[in-house]
């Protein structure tokens, strides 16, 4: 897939709403980009979209590749007498960035604005307004109208439309639509030596739930998880880890809060990157968690690794990434899968 097509796909996926448990529109958006490129496409009981792409027959390893479809957002939990929506977060969002934001509410993508009730600016050092004190205004006149337009459980996402930004691109939900775009690009390519199960997972942001059952269903010999990860690479007051940096290539996880990546897969990816001249970096160990955290302990155990595209400002309304990192991630994943033989992960 060339860069224009890859970015067009990323923009489309980024613009599509899909909070945890409500990934149907993302799933629907992905399907036409997979049909014709994979042998089968199905949806499991949790809502994971499972694409099976047969290997060349060089060996019989089953390899699971995942990217999660869900994004962080809000959910309607109540209505005020004045017709505003009370909300809770779905996934982790920093409450400091919410007041005043434009949002999209429900399946009709109804415009809304996050306001604050009883706003007062007398004290600039006012504490962070908790999400429970925020309201979303959709222009409803009263409770009845609000109830009808946005009943309890209605999904709310950031209103961002993806676009280029200098050499970078900007958009919402790059965590993990960037991973979804990379996985589509891989699946659209020629067959690999291994049997590939590309799974677009659900409910990652609320507890790595979709991946867990996908791991059980696929019962793979190894798993590669694709992510959009934290790049905390702005200048710091004190020298310290940026977690990852944009423009420095795919980000390898060695260990995070959810699992320890298989050292043999880490070695393989490093060797492949070095041989192919693809830049790579290590994610700051001990930070965050990914779908690998629940895949690796399914059934008899699954050696796993996470490859991520570094993104600034994830879990906010606008994230930034470098298209070159996205392309390098697709290239590194493909090259690694080409070199993944049974010998790499066998246990003599």
């Amino acid at each position: 897939m060339n860069r224009d097509a890859l970015l067009e796909l990323l923009y489309m996926l980024s613009n599509t709403p899909g909070t945890s448990g409500d990934e149907i529109e993302v799933r629907r958006a992905l399907r036409p980009h997979l049909e014709g490129h994979v042998e089968s496409l199905r949806v499991d009981a949790m809502g994971n979209l499972i694409a099976h792409k047969k290997g060349t027959g060089a060996h019989d390893l089953r390899v699971l590749l995942t990217a999660h479809m869900d994004e962080v957002g809000l959910m309607v939990v109540d209505h005020t007498g004045e017709g505003a929506l009370k909300v809770a977060t779905s996934g982790s969002i920093d409450a400091r960035l919410l007041p005043g934001l434009e949002v999209r509410v429900g399946p009709q993508a109804r415009p809304g604005v996050i306001g604050i009730k009883a706003i007062h600016r007398a004290d600039e050092d006012e504490n962070v307004i908790p999400v429970s004190a925020l309201t979303v205004d959709i222009g409803a006149h009263d409770r009845e109208e609000a109830l009808e337009l946005a009943p309890i459980g209605t999904r709310i996402t950031f209103a961002t439309t993806a676009h280029p930004l200098g050499q970078l691109v900007a958009g919402k939900a790059f965590d993990d639509r960037a991973g979804c775009a990379a996985l589509v690009a891989l699946l659209q390519g020629p067959p690999l030596p291994c049997d590939v199960f590309g799974v677009f997972t659900v409910q990652e942001e609320v507890g790595l739930r979709g991946a867990r059952v996908a791991g059980y269903t696929v019962a793979p010999a190894a798993a590669f998880v694709l992510e959009g990860t934290i790049a905390d690479d702005l200048p710091k007051e004190e020298e310290g880890s940026p977690t990852s940096e944009i423009g420095k290539g795919p980000v390898l996880t060695v260990m995070d809060r959810s699992y320890v990546a298989d050292p043999r897969l880490v070695r393989l990816v490093i060797q492949v990157a070095t041989a192919a001249g693809i830049p790579y970096q290590f994610k700051q160990p001990g930070i965050g968690g990914t779908d690998a955290g629940t895949i690796h302990f399914t059934r008899e155990g699954v050696p796993a690794i996470t490859l991520a595209i570094p993104c600034r400002y994830i879990h906010g309304p606008v994230a930034l990434l470098d298209p070159q990192d996205l392309e390098h991630t697709v290239a590194l994943l493909r090259a690694s899968l080409e070199q993944l033989t049974p010998e790499v992960i066998q246990r003599p």
Binding site: A221, E239, G240, S241, L252, V254, M255, S258, Y259, V260, A261, D262, P263, V266, F282, Q284, P285, G286, G293, H296, F297, T298, R299, E300, G301, V302, P303, I345, R347, P348
Partner: protein, 328 residues
């Protein structure tokens, strides 16, 4: 007591996910003792001793991995920042040393702080490998390291790094060495990644699909100055787990162990551990559920570089397991 073996076990490198070295040590010892030996996908080692009877399957699990640290950042001057692999507390490690897989040794120290009376955060500690710059540092982000301390035998007490849970591995090996014919098939599971996720025991127990599972691990004691109240003391015999923060032992498993101890006259202690758990917590919940329990070796200073156990407790733990698994 085979102190040579326990020395080898405690000193072998094996932070979570990086258990190759300790696995090789154990594999060499158990291979001639077992009917078959294999390694599972995540790296756990299993030694099977076949039983004489109806083919019931019992798992005995001790974990090979040890707590450690992983490099998160190498600064311009070559100092390392790090994160925890398993539960470590800054207070236990300042002034201590770590060793990387390639033998590189580092000193753990702490930044100067405005208020030095407060316990520092882990982020305020660093490792000094003697490098003079980032380029000169012999290690990189993502490299794991373990704490250093030799094994010392002093009277009836043993002091060493990583008695958690290499003394459990030792108990499993000694049990395998001494045990005569047993009715059940016994799966001696040397698990990986206990200190972080319990994933090794969980996945190997899934594969084995056992009828009963026992973890053999260390537990804390209440016998030190101003310790948290806990009715387990070092030197008073193996502790039979009633419950911990991750598992309630199956009453029949607990009582099987108690009956065995009473039958052969081994002193034992009933254990309730308020903070912490073992591989049994994960094994209990695989597939449709597995009746599970745990035998613990009382250990002072767990997760410090100088853990302490009593030789008699260790030997009696072997005797208790033997009595429970091979009823005369």
């Amino acid at each position: 007591m085979d102190l040579e073996l326990l020395t080898q076990l405690t000193q072998a490198f094996g932070p979570p996910g990086y258990e190759e070295e300790i696995r090789a040590v154990i594999r060499e010892v158990v291979t001639p003792l077992a009917d078959s030996v294999w390694v599972d996908p995540l790296g756990s080692l299993v030694a099977l001793k076949r039983g004489t009877g109806g083919g019931k399957k019992t798992v005995l699990a001790a974990h090979m991995d040890e707590i450690g640290v992983m490099v998160t950042y190498v600064d311009e001057k070559g100092y390392l920042r790090f994160t925890r692999m398993g539960g470590i507390s800054p207070l236990m490690h300042i002034g201590g040393r770590v060793r990387f897989a390639d033998g590189t040794v580092g000193v753990i120290s702490v930044e100067r702080r405005e208020d030095s009376s407060k316990i520092p955060a882990l982020e305020q500690l660093y490792i000094d490998v003697g490098a003079s710059s980032r380029e000169d540092a012999p290690v990189k982000v993502g490299d794991p390291a373990v704490f250093m301390r030799p094994l010392v035998a002093q009277g009836r007490r043993l002091i060493s790094k990583t008695l958690d849970d290499r003394v459990g591995c030792y108990v499993l090996i000694e049990t395998l060495r001494r045990l005569g014919p047993t009715p059940d098939d016994l799966y001696f599971l040397f698990s990986v990644q206990e200190e972080v996720t319990l994933s090794g025991a969980r996945t190997s127990a899934y594969k084995i699909d056992p009828d009963m599972a026992l973890a053999v691990d260390v537990t804390m004691t209440g016998d030190t100055p101003k310790a948290l109240p806990m009715a387990v003391e070092m030197g008073k015999g193996p502790a039979i787990k009633v419950q911990d923060s991750g598992m309630i032992a199956h009453p029949a498993v607990r009582d099987l162990l108690i009956a065995a101890a009473e039958r052969v006259g081994i002193p034992y202690q009933r254990e309730i551990l308020l903070g912490g758990s073992t591989d049994a917590a994960a094994m209990q919940l695989v597939r449709g559920g597995v009746p599970s329990g745990c035998v613990s070796i009382p250990c002072r200073y767990v997760h410090s570089p100088s853990e302490m156990v009593d030789v008699t407790d260790v030997e009696q733990t072997v005797a208790l397991l033997s009595a429970a698994l091979a009823p005369a």
